[in-house]
Symmetry: C2
């Protein structure tokens, strides 16, 4: 199958590219290296040293014998993206090509605009070019569980049957996104759903939980194939960040009460889920949503898990409740449905002591690369300074 | 009160500016004349001749003795918009400053991107500058009833209480927008709601029905104060377009079966609603939604009303069912709640024969200005040509 991976140089994009390539598919990747640039600008970096895309692709070719084609450019650039879509004629597009950080989107107006522009306009371009050049293609879009927020009812997979004043309809599940980044994903979901309804495109929107982990079967084959591992306040997700904090002797920074509960999954399961989606495409005109996570944890539970796992390795780790930089409920109901991927055959790798210990050991071997100043949260959802124009 | 009107040169923006000015408010208007430019580009024009913004403001000053300040620029331009907000320090912003046409947004990728960029990024800029320079300001945002689409349940005003699996929450009403323009308004609504929740801004989202009518109390005072009146396929709304068709002897073009039902209101009631919203601001942090229309009609009913009214003036008007260029349900349930503005004191001017006859007469006096070629729908929701890359 011809598979086009947008954001193919990223944490998930690169392992996904290798996975599909290993499976015998004809893989092309698109990236504009914005993640690498954002890190440079912010004085941060991946904990695991990573090779350039060119070197990665060469190494993969050497090891697997398979070719991966690359296109360097931005999906916001219509001439570029149209050329990519019309040349590669993809049967499936896996779309990770977005600004993926909530705090990044909240740090300034410029970054908020960059996030919504990149994500919404980039995806809108893609929808038009799929319509015009590859209308049968299956668009597998990475969304996020954060689109839903934390309503006081069970979260369904994309749609909910509502009975109201004696009538019934099945409608898009109402969303309460928690940042301008999460909002960009909601906007995308709405645009994609429309393109399926009106133009007959087909799409799977993967509302993914928080991903953790360092390795996949392919990245483990050679250090040159490593994927990035972020732990900084912008791009590091909570469990990855806690593990780095444990290794360097930094208290685990739990935001507020730590009762915030989210869905989580191992990076290996991300690849499994994306493969299951691609292998089981929706019908033409169908827009479906899978909630892509395997287990729910509160932030406090994760901190305790990391603390306990670290103790087994002789590390004495503190947990610190810091002021929450975000605006979010710190105690809430959370019970999202996530059966559709299980029904397709997902076999989850659940989180446990052993995995956390293995992450801690890998991080230990790169501890000299940790940039301490990158760890504590700086970005406030609510700027605390007095508004410039306060009356 | 200091009132800032975005899109103050438009069909609704200009009459709104005069209304607030007549009410003794300190009014500033912002416009970048994009509506005038889009018409030039498309070879179309307002039926009523309209003056330049400068001439309008001069005429208004001559007639009323009141000053209206103007700022010429785009809200997508952050330097410009920040200067406007920090200089005017508005207590209320009435935001009409968006690309307002569904067919315009569907005509090409470029126009779709322009629409979502202008509307989403422009409004996002505004939210940041209100946060930073006028955090107490009341943002009155023009949304549209088209954000909801036509679900099979009663449409509530912005939020709905959902009971699901034994639990309850009040959540944003699910949306089924019918074009990429309508989607831009949904994206805006979501961004604004977030800014209220997280930054404590206050906003009223007016989900407006389809507006009809030519005159308001202020525009009627002098021909130099006239507001634009569009009848072309992009910017003309259905009743206004039917009236022009009746006058020039063109069949009334009903799309498909004509059972499409929508909320409608007189332009005079738009002004009343916006005034009621401004006079009754929400609390800090509150995001509220009013469904702003006074009556529902199907497209077929409107065609019959125009036909009957025209007959009284001796005009013999045909109704023609043309292929629907849009993708929409042509027969559906429609019962949106619209009580909040009535509760605040709205006194609707209902649609009847007399109003339609008066519109027909005014149009008759400008019939030499009608550009026939602009009337029939050209823009297809689903491009009918074979996709360039069809396999």
């Amino acid at each position: 199958m011809r598979v086009l991976i947008l954001g193919g140089d990223g944490y998930l994009g690169w392992p996904t590219a290798m996975r599909f390539s290993a499976g015998g598919h004809e893989v092309s990747v698109v990236d504009n290296f914005s993640r690498r640039r954002w890190h440079e600008k912010h004085g941060t970096d991946s904990l695991m040293p990573i090779r350039s895309l060119e070197e990665r692709i060469e190494a993969w070719n050497e090891i697997s014998g398979n070719q991966i084609a690359s296109y360097i450019g931005a999906i916001e650039d219509p001439e570029f993206l149209e050329r990519v879509v019309s040349e590669t004629k993809p049967e499936a597009v896996v779309h990770y090509g977005e600004q993926p950080s909530a705090p990044y989107s909240m740090a300034s107006r410029e970054q908020a605009v960059e996030t919504q522009y990149t994500n919404v306009i980039g995806t809108l371009n893609l929808l038009f070019f799929l319509r015009d050049h590859a209308p049968e293609c299956h668009l597998v879009k990475l969304g996020t569980m954060g689109e839903y927020g934390t309503p006081n009812i069970d979260i369904e997979e994309g749609f909910i049957e509502i009975e109201h004043k004696g009538r019934k309809d099945t409608l898009p599940f109402p969303k309460l996104p928690g940042s301008l980044y999460h909002l960009s994903k909601v906007h995308d979901s709405n645009n994609i759903q429309f393109a399926c309804r009106v133009w007959g495109l087909r799409s799977t929107d993967l509302n993914q939980g928080v991903v953790y982990g360092i390795e996949t079967d392919e990245t483990a084959q050679d250090e040159r194939l490593s994927t990035r591992f972020d732990y900084d306040e912008w791009f590091g997700t909570v469990l990855n960040r806690f593990c780095v904090q444990a290794v360097i002797g930094h208290p685990l920074t739990v935001y507020g009460k730590g009762g915030q509960t989210r869905g989580f999954l191992n990076i290996r399961d991300t690849l499994q889920c994306v493969e299951l989606a691609v292998d089981n495409p929706p019908d033409a005109g169908e827009y479906r949503v899978f909630n892509q996570f395997t287990e729910s944890f509160s932030v406090g539970q994760l901190a305790e898990l990391v603390q306990a796992s670290a103790a087994e390795l002789g590390l004495d780790v503190e947990i610190e409740h810091v002021d929450n930089p975000r605006v979010e409920l710190e105690e809430h109901y959370y019970n999202p449905v996530h059966t559709k991927l299980l029904d397709l055959g997902l076999e989850p790798a659940y989180l446990g002591d052993e995995l956390v210990r293995s992450m801690l050991k890998t991080i230990e071997s790169h501890r000299d690369r940790v940039i301490d100043a990158a760890i504590d949260p700086q970005t406030q959802w609510k700027p605390s300074q007095e508004p410039a124009g306060a009356r």
